[in-house]
Amino acid sequence: MTSLALAAALRDERHGRLDMLPYARALDLHFDQDDSEVRLIMPFAIGLVGAPGRIHGGALAGLLEIAGLAAVIVAQADADQLPRIRPVTVTVDFMREGSPIDTHAAATVTRLGRRIVNVSSLAWQYDRSRPIAAANINFLLDWPEAT
């Protein structure tokens, strides 16, 4: 699911949109990064609603997965030499309901392997210290045969 365009945007820009992934475009995802991390923003929209007045858990899981993917991409040494990056297992805990406001997410790589990358991803709204959802994601990296 790696997109070289995504990697290029994360390498070259501090802020931007993730429109190169149609699914991220549907969620209207933006990114914002500094030297320490990439943060994603999912602005509230009616299309995110599951139960009345609450963001659908699936949209939160999708946001957490893409935050994880971004963390895996920026952790790679060479943005021009990327493997295919696929989540193998995703476990999400939902701690608080998603209110109809913007949601933020950021992920940290807990172990960077050549084939497996373990990632911990958090989503929050009002207060980063009170996350609304958290995901543990194990990504599998498929390197091109040549390398």
Binding site: A26, L48, G50, I55, G57, A61, R86, V90, F94, E97
Partner: protein
Amino acid sequence: MTRGADDAAARQKRFLQRFLDSVPHLKLIGIGYRDHGKDWAELEMPFAEQQLADPDYGIIASGAIFTLLDNCAGFAVLVVRGEMIPYATLDMRVDYLRAPAAKATVIGHAECYRITRQIAFVRGLAHDGDPANPIANMAGTFMFTARADAMGMFPAPAGSEAAA
């Protein structure tokens, strides 16, 4: 099956279809009703562009499959309860076994195999035509967030005593 039972089943199906059609996020991703039984439910996600993570490879975003299975599991909980009770996902795990075939309709199937006063336990899978060859496997727990009678019963299934 009697004519009356057929009508009741059709009525329940229409009710659930309308309910699912009214969920904005399902409409955004392109997920709709497929089928349900006493303790299981199925949703389907016909291929659509907004589900793609990588257009170059035609890879469906795992988040879209997660959404399909999450909602499918919640739907299975509702059919076991037989009422529109508010619930929230407590946790859910999805193992992505393989990529779906290009432009395939992805089907989510979930079974609520245990239910207590507060928690429902669900297992399920996603496939692209053959349930014996799944794309993804899921396990999740759901909790009830309000009183049982908060949102009312939905039309009883065929042959159910609850209709009386």
